[in-house]
């Protein structure tokens, strides 16, 4: 067993940032251990994307098409990945911490009996294996685990690793046609429900504008939405307003919602309970607006304004529109 296999993802025909994060990390490990750095992708990938990948130090890229790979089937994807693992014998298999990676990595690990370590924030090579750091208790604690036996499956926490390009090299492209006849008993993806208006997801956005109980009424989230649009931000929400049915759960930030780390997180009318705090504490810059100057959120927000958000948001919208 030697080398790295990174499982890449496409979204809207582009290689995702999460994929570039695992490629960067994979290249570092491969260089230090003088091993092959391989990657695979399921689906159709255009020339432009292959060009882009040349700057990430990949030795071989396995492009796997299954005939109908646009439709996600966990079992077919699993079988394709298992096939490439068999072919390349990697000692580390890297996934990104997206919904796809979270679904596939446990299938691969359990199928071949490898340990899986999820949500990694740091990987270091030690004498007898790897030391990996990951948050537990929603980030209240960081644990360091040592894996002395490889192979292992690793998934990286999104937005936790740098994306670094290196000098372009030629990639050996291996086109794999996988014809897997699908067992009729397996789950079938019938449809994908998209929101009426395309919205940015909190887990992918670099700016998030969040609202809590201080918004007073669901209709008032129009203000949050307007501000989010100006900032090209995702709308976030506290648990209180999700549980009240004002906002969908997909927007919830916190322990039973999403754990996010955007560049900028702006919280309106959110007191900052521990369950919310753990979901956004790793944001690079936190701004909080709350009418209660003793709200816990001011203890960890970089910049705070004490005041009435119904005056502050419109003022902020006006100021941001005036460039």
């Amino acid at each position: 067993m030697t080398g790295i296999l990174s499982v890449l993802e496409l979204k809207n025909n582009e290689v995702t940032n999460g994929s570039l994060e695992i490629l960067t990390e994979g290249k570092k490990i491969a260089t230090e251990k003088k091993q092959d750095n391989n990657a695979m992708i399921i689906g159709e990938i255009n020339k432009k994307n292959i060009e882009k990948l040349k700057e990430y130090g990949i030795d071989s890229l396995f492009i796997c098409s299954t005939g109908n790979t646009n439709v996600y089937s966990p079992e077919i994807y699993r079988d394709v990945i298992l096939r490439i693992i068999k072919q390349t014998n990697p000692e580390i298999i890297l996934f990104s911490g997206t919904s796809l990676g979270k679904d596939l990595a446990p299938r691969i690990a359990a199928n071949i009996g490898y340990n899986l370590v999820t949500e990694c924030i740091d990987i270091s090579i030690v004498e007898d294996g790897y030391e990996i750091k990951r948050p537990i208790f929603a980030g209240k604690i960081i644990q360091t685990l040592r894996f002395s036996k490889t192979p292992i499956v690793v998934s990286l926490k999104s937005n936790s690793f740098a994306i670094e390009k290196i000098e372009a090299n030629e990639i050996s492209i291996k086109q794999i046609d996988v014809n897997i006849s699908k067992d009729k008993k397996l789950p079938i993806l019938r449809e994908i429900i998209q929101p009426q208006k395309e919205v940015l997801d909190v887990s992918e956005a670099s700016t998030i504008v969040s609202g809590g109980r201080g918004m007073k009424e669901p209709e008032n989230f129009k203000l949050i939405e307007e501000l989010a649009e100006i900032l090209n931000a995702a709308v976030g929400a506290s648990r209180a307003v999700v549980d009240a049915g004002w906002r969908p759960h997909s927007e919830q930030v916190g322990q039973t919602g999403k754990i996010v780390s955007p560049n900028l997180y702006i919280a309106f009318g959110i007191s900052g309970a521990i369950q919310h705090q753990v979901g956004m504490i790793n944001s690079k810059c936190i701004v909080a607006v709350n009418k209660d100057k003793n709200a816990p959120i001011f203890k960890f927000a970089d910049y705070g304004i004490v005041g009435d958000l119904f005056e502050i948001i419109p003022e902020l919208i006006t100021k941001l529109k005036n460039k």
Binding site: P74, E131, I136, E191, I192, I305
Partner: protein, 251 residues
Amino acid sequence: MKIVICVKQVPDTATKIKISENNKTIEQTSIKYEINPYDEYAIEEALRLKEDDPNTTITVISLGPERVKQSLTKALAIGADNAIHLKTNEDIKNPLVIAKILASEIKKRSYDLILFGKKSVDQDNNQIGIMIGEINQISCISNCTQFKLNNNTITAHREIEGAIQVFESKLPIIITQEKGKNELRYPSLRNLMAAKKKTIESINIVEQIDDNVELIKLEYPPTRKEGKIIGEGKEAVSELVRILREEIKII
């Protein structure tokens, strides 16, 4: 229909977690244990199915030390029919080991619907339910906000980034539950007292040790530096915009 829910007992999400002096364990004092929130959503889904079809039996299984019985009792009090305690001396941490133990217990009894929370809020591993599908060769749809049953067919809504995938499958199936729209129910005192009298089946688990993984240490994340209040009311907005635009150049 036979439903089983694998329930984990975890520290309440409001608990302040303290690392012990050995840097490898957490302080047990002052921890209030609860059912993992995502598992509670899974129980709620099962209870709703039972309301529609009274022929349903709901079993809850929990792996862990003696204390996890409290969580099983709570599950019985809100409507589960049976409870199984897979008894260990302490919490097992290795997800693959946990998955193998649960998979073998689940395999012994044939269930139509096997439910898990999508992850536990203590170890955040996000893998056990899916692994069991693989080990027992049962299909698994992960991260579901809701699902519907129609005879032998299940339609499940799987949440992904910015959209919902609608999967259809035949039973038996494993579902890992994301938070949905359902409100949770809480046991009445009377039901809780009655549940305490119910028998919990207890099975001793021989703990398997995985020498390949070792916990080196636990530590706290770096603390954020103290922030500052830049002002009060809408007069402070222009200063905020100036900081964001010119000082840290983030917008």
